[in-house]
């Protein structure tokens, strides 16, 4: 069976533009509109999660000063904050937002392969968000089980939200998984089959590689969460004992029998660890492109970067039990997972070296996106190093469930991807909106965010060493914590409030730039990849006007010696490059 490629059928199809308001902005099947719907909604729930975190910090920094926050609501805030940030913000934003916007543009196609499915995906995602938020308002409130939702406590008395809250959380996750799968089928198919002429896989920008690999991970890992959600709903509602052991709760013998909480942990982390890379890999890809563009240099070791992404993707499926070292596992088992965990650090470190080497002797322009991208390198190294500590069983045992772990994962999958999110939004904002953002406000936003993040998370490492447990409503008075720990907590809270308020600068910037920003020139950063080469800025429906682009080179021809311009777009054929070039070998110039 042979199939005629998209490029050869382009003119058979008529691209009728949507004409009503509804089909253009609401029920749109245009990947760019869907991307903005996905991204906007993700950021909106993200703000909810941010507010929750400030509420938690208020309690931790100034215990019992705020009547609004009691132990129950504290646990609900912890849980909703974590789940929203990881799943509903970062996953949705990277795959649904950036994936949707960039994949068709960077691959040189007019849209996703299945636009209708794409539209369904964003609306199903919307539904999952509604269900999630609804859980705040049902009797008993949202679940307070922690984002890991470990049974038995997520289903037994004493935990907030055990009647309706937990069910809504699980249903919402199930609905989210359906949305992510619909989106994922589109991204995979589009990358594989809908590229324009000349776009080999190895000519794709790293952004596409990162998002593509993360999508594969999402498709294979999310089922684990779905399986655990289904079985937990059954345990809760029809009395099965998949996860729930025989137990006495609040003086009552529950009707459960011999269920296995450890089974849940396996399933959860089989999803949970790949999930951190579902968030990290797109960030790796996006940041590579931002760095190369603003350093005016080709990305160092492109092939190695691609292989590292693939290796990390593969390995991320065999490290999950490093989250379960304290569950009483067989030591050989622990040894195996510690080894794989440390192995995965190798390709990760390779990527970090390559980013730094990309900057080396580059013509670095410290514009706002670049600041955020360089900030990412700092925070990521920081979080990655503490990961190496925790990957070793003997070091993890005392540190598990302390603030050290909180510091680790916030550095590595909180702050770092968020810095990339900002880098990418600032980088692509001129393309998406056709307007320039305000540089000064952007720089203020960066420095407050970057330094604020350090002021919040660096001290947490020390708290962790001293044994401050995570997920505690209040520490009370203990012998092992000096007074200074409490002062530190207060200082973290103040920093966190400043950090949160600094994000207003971002929204203000976006808002005034959309209204009064300078008009953006086409390809304002002098980039090489296809998304900047559309006939209109911002690109119109169908992206490419009459003719699809044709690609003649990879996406990293920056500062090639002997050429008059310091970048050569992917569409320029070898014959049209001003002066003869020698494969972009970098001489010391």
């Amino acid at each position: 069976m042979s199939y005629v490629a998209l490029v050869d059928r382009d003119h058979e199809q008529d691209h009728h533009d949507p004409d009503t308001f509804l089909t253009k902005y609401v029920w749109s099947q245009d990947h760019k509109v869907i991307a903005i719907q996905y991204g906007g909604l993700a950021i909106l729930v993200g703000v909810v999660a941010l507010v929750l975190s400030v509420l938690m910090r208020l309690q931790l920094g100034f215990p019992n000063e705020f009547a609004l926050i009691n132990p129950e609501s504290y646990y609900q805030f912890v849980t909703m904050h974590g789940m929203i940030m990881v799943v509903y913000l970062l996953t949705a934003l990277f795959l649904g937002g950036f994936g949707n916007y960039l994949i068709p543009l960077m691959c040189g196609s007019r849209d996703m392969v299945f636009p209708f499915l794409n539209m369904l995906s964003v609306w199903v995602y919307f539904l999952s968000v509604i269900i999630l938020i609804a859980s705040f308002f049902v009797p008993g409130g949202a679940t307070g089980a922690g984002w890991t939702l470990y049974p038995p406590q997520s289903l037994s008395g004493g935990t907030p939200g055990t009647d309706m809250g937990i069910i809504l959380m699980l249903v919402s996750l199930g609905v989210f998984i359906v949305a992510a799968t619909m989106g994922g089928l589109n991204y995979v198919t589009t990358v594989l089959q809908y590229r324009c002429k000349g776009m080999t896989l190895m000519r794709l920008p790293l952004s596409v590689w990162g998002i593509f690999t993360a999508t594969i991970l999402a498709l294979l890992a999310f089922p684990a969460l779905l399986v655990s959600a289904i079985m937990m709903i059954l345990d809760h509602s029809v009395g099965t004992s998949f996860f729930m052991p025989a137990m006495i709760s609040e003086g009552q013998q529950l009707s459960y029998n011999d269920g296995s909480p450890i089974l849940f942990q396996h399933l959860f982390w089989f999803f949970g660890h790949p999930e951190v890379y579902i968030v990290a890999l797109p960030a790796f890809g996006l940041v590579s492109d931002v760095l190369a563009t603003h350093a005016r240099k080709n990305i160092f070791g492109y092939r190695m970067m691609v292989w590292a992404i693939l290796a990390i993707g593969g390995l991320s499926f065999i490290v999950w039990a490093h989250h379960m070292y304290v569950s009483g596992m067989n030591p050989y088992f622990g040894f195996f997972f510690a080894t794989t965990t440390l192995i995965i650090a190798v390709p990760t470190a390779l990527k970090v070296y390559n980013w730094v080497l990309t900057l080396w002797q580059g013509n670095i322009h410290l514009r706002v996106p670049m600041l955020f991208a360089i900030g990412f390198i700092f925070t990521f190294i920081h979080g990655g190093l503490t990961g190496l500590f925790l990957g070793n069983v003997t070091i993890d045992l005392p540190l598990s469930d302390t603030y050290f772990v909180v510091a680790h994962f916030h550095m590595v999958m909180g702050v770092s991807p968020v810095l990339v999110v900002f880098a990418s939004i600032y980088h692509w904002f001129p393309l998406m909106s056709g307007k320039m953002f305000n540089e000064t406000l952007g720089k203020w936003h960066f420095w407050l965010t970057f330094l604020g993040a350090y002021a919040v998370y660096l001290p947490m490492h020390y708290l962790g060493f001293q044994g401050v447990p995570r997920r505690y409503f209040s520490l009370g008075t203990t012998d092992f914590l000096p007074e200074s720990a409490h002062t530190l907590n207060a200082s973290i809270t103040i920093s966190a409030i400043i950090l949160a308020l600094a994000q207003l600068l971002f929204f203000i910037n976006i808002f005034i730039s959309l209204r009064n920003g300078k008009k953006a020139k086409p390809n304002c950063w002098g980039a090489t990849s296809l998304e900047w080469l559309t006939p209109d800025t911002p690109p119109k429906h169908g992206n490419w006007g009459h003719d699809l682009p044709e690609v003649h080179r990879w996406a990293y021809d920056y500062s090639v010696p002997g050429q008059s311009q310091d970048f050569t777009p992917q569409t320029v054929p070898a014959s049209e490059v001003p002066v003869g070039r020698d494969h972009g070998v970098d001489h010391d110039t």
Partner: protein, 222 residues
């Protein structure tokens, strides 16, 4: 978890091996006229076929994880093996027949034109047997129910209900596409569209049969 690991390792290994082959020995920074002529399709397949394959990989992951959960849960002391109802054998037979009928329709759609009676008959048979399978599964549920084996009675029973329900839902999804292919035939749509639909459904039906046989095998073996 071993089952899952083996399945996922296979899928990941295939994907990664294939991707590495695409990327190995290529120097994308060198200008390359052969690459300039590449069509932008990595595989000589319709996009729908890729989407279906990907979806089957997702479903494989889902069922493999259920199977792993089954094998882990089995080790707990309260596990009582279930005597699977005999009707499951008949149901399995129905599903085999549905698969055969689909295979036959696929041969027909490749060789005849759209109005072909044979195609409609083939599809009809496939659909009827699939529906019979689903009713058969429901009556297995009823049988367990009447014996007092409810979903909360024992983990083996609970898994039985969950497995059959999940498999049934996937088959119902297939039947929705099946109904749409029939509708397309009645609307006299382009033969190419119908052909894709029937070809892909055939693959999906074989896949659903395989999944069912593995789940069924797992349950009777334990």
């Amino acid at each position: 978890m071993t089952i899952t690991l083996i399945f996922l390792a296979c899928i990941m290994a295939t994907v990664i091996f294939w991707l590495l082959r695409q990327t190995f020995n290529i120097q994308p920074w060198v200008s390359d006229e052969v690459a300039d002529e590449v069509t932008g399709m990595s595989l000589d397949l319709k996009p729908q076929a890729i989407a279906l394959t990907t979806f089957m990989a997702v479903a494989t992951s889902l069922f493999a994880l259920f199977a792993s959960a089954y094998s882990l849960r089995m080790e707990m002391p309260d596990w009582r093996p279930l005597n699977e109802p005999m009707i499951l054998w008949i149901n399995s037979f129905f599903l085999v027949l549905a698969s055969i009928a689909y295979q036959w329709s696929r041969a027909k759609v490749a060789s005849t034109d759209i109005g072909s009676k044979k195609l409609v008959i083939g599809l009809g048979i496939a659909g009827v047997f699939s529906i019979l399978f689903i009713f058969g599964q429901l009556s297995a549920w009823q049988e367990l129910n009447s014996k007092g084996l409810y979903v909360s009675s024992n983990p083996a029973v609970a898994f039985f209900y969950v497995f059959t329900a999940m498999h049934g839902i996937h088959l119902l999804g297939g039947l929705y596409v099946w109904a749409r292919s029939l509708a397309k035939i009645y609307q006299n749509q382009d033969l190419r569209i119908v052909r894709t639909s029937v070809e892909l459904c055939t693959i999906y039906w074989h896949f659903m049969l395989l999944v069912w046989l593995l789940l069924f095998g797992l349950m009777i073996a334990t």
